[in-house]
Amino acid sequence: MTVARARHYSGGRTRPLQMKISKQARRDAKQLFRACSVNGLLEDNRVRQVVQLVIGQKPRGYISILTHFQRLVKLDLERRTAKIESALELPENLRAGVQANLARKYGPGLAVSFSQNADLIGGLRVQVGSDVYDGSIRARLAELADGFQAI
């Protein structure tokens, strides 16, 4: 990502400053993004083609357009990605079951990734886009702790 980096004092660390993206660049990026989806699903090949074409033709403000385009693609990928965390490795049949359930709920085109996280203690934590289904022991303990604090 092409972002201007500037040193500015914020909690004693350097962080990237967001590039100012014009309205026109946003509009163009949005149009390109729409052109890349077929039946509501983003097509990887089209995305790659679009990036190559824009870099090749270098239209006015092309870096801003690509930066915003990248953000839109990133958000779309996140929306279509299911992250399944478990404390132990899941058996194959359970994985297939979870996958099938998620496909039924969120439709086709969902990229599913499984990972292990010992911090969960037990149970599953599923995140699809900004939806989280937390059935882990850690979450239940946290809920219990909140309940005690409220009392």
Partner: protein, 510 residues
Amino acid sequence: MSTLLQDIEAQIAGVKTAVSRQNVGSVREIGDGVAKIEGLTDAMLNEMLDFGNGVTGLALNLEETEVGAIILGEYSGVKEGQEVRTTGRLLQVPVGKGLLGRVVNTLGQPVDGKGPIKNETTYPVEKIAPGIIKRKSVTQPVQTGIMAIDAMIPIGRGQRELIIGDRSTGKTTIGIDTIISNARLNKAAEAAGDKAFRPLYSVYVGVGQKQSNIARVINVLEEAGAMPYTIVVAASASDSATNQYLAPFSGCAMGEWFMDNGMDALIIYDDLSKHAVAYRQVSLVLKRPSGREAYPGDVFYLHSRLLERSARLGEKYGDGSLTALPIIETQLGDVSAYIPTNVISITDGQIYLETDLFYQGVRPAISVGLSVSRVGSAAQIKAMKQVAGRIKLDLAQFRELAAFAQFGSDLDAATQAKIERGKRIVEVFKQPQYNPITVEAQAAVLWAAQNGHMDDVAVEKIKDCQNKLTEFLTTRKSELMAKLAMEKALSDALTAELKSAVTEFKQNYK
């Protein structure tokens, strides 16, 4: 046996925690108390967001790819990439009689060190104002205890009357006087066991004020014994702009509870100019488009939706009321600036305070020509209407004649008499701060002034004469005053009695 099993089953079901869906996002940008959050696809407008560690935010901007949220309270602990959750709740504040006598912040948390607040109910901070069907026109008066206001610019319960003027012209004092006056009336009615009396509870909202000013107000209210009937919502200048923006809405929710439960409440917003400035700051950091004087386009709606929540409800809906006294500070007397004109157009009248009058010693420095009450006259008691009906016109004529008389000294007797009467009325309306006068005393004094009983008193001795007359009437003629308070009108018999009392006083007055 079967019920025992059912009980156990129900308890087990309660213990089982089903996995519920949560909506999360992550902080993309944070600064000036405003966070931009990616994700949160299910966030509602004005929903509370949980930032963890007890930090909460309020979703104000719902954009295509992100949510703009303002953080309530301390935001220095919030970091980029931090997880944020929706809560499904709107911002709420505690309401009820448990808040009376307390000083709270925007979120309704006590800041007076008197321990936790006992409340059972909470109200959302943002609420739709009562509709047309629920409303009733204003009929009951709010006794401010300030003679000039009660006589010429009467305020009714459920009315919105703007107090406008330059800095240090006595705007806050009018609000405080009204609170004190009503607290005294409440106390007197309580002591007398008057069941028909409707007490008026007060809410004072300090927005962007100096902490010292708010402390002084609390001190005055405590000394006057008005705190037991008052809630103070403090969002001082050192509070975040977010808290300053939300404080009037919190105070309004607290006042609305009284209205919804068939009681009467008064709310003072001190002041809405600073509130507009705080909202401008919040809007600008949220990158909302700015309009005139960099205020956002919805600054009118900000104040109109707040002031529309003040209303008088019909009998069917509890017969409660919420009276609002918003305060606006002008710059060099410019009432045609953006925020003053907005609020003038929303309210049911305004009390305009003039710097020149203030420095001439006319205090409260109410400009009679520019002040108006559009609905309050319907709420004025009959006795006051009888004595003060023509006073506004007389005073306006006096001002014109006085200006004219400056150019020449030869005036006919009628004009001279009008000027002399005007001078005396101006003196009668002068009143020290935090010293409200009961409505029957006001009516009696005005009757005496209007009927020429003060014409032979020198202008500089008018105040002394008025004070002594009030003292004479309240101590020696307390029966007459009680009758006047009861009947609320000057009947022929009562007028005759008042006339003999004033004549008796005049015989001994030197």
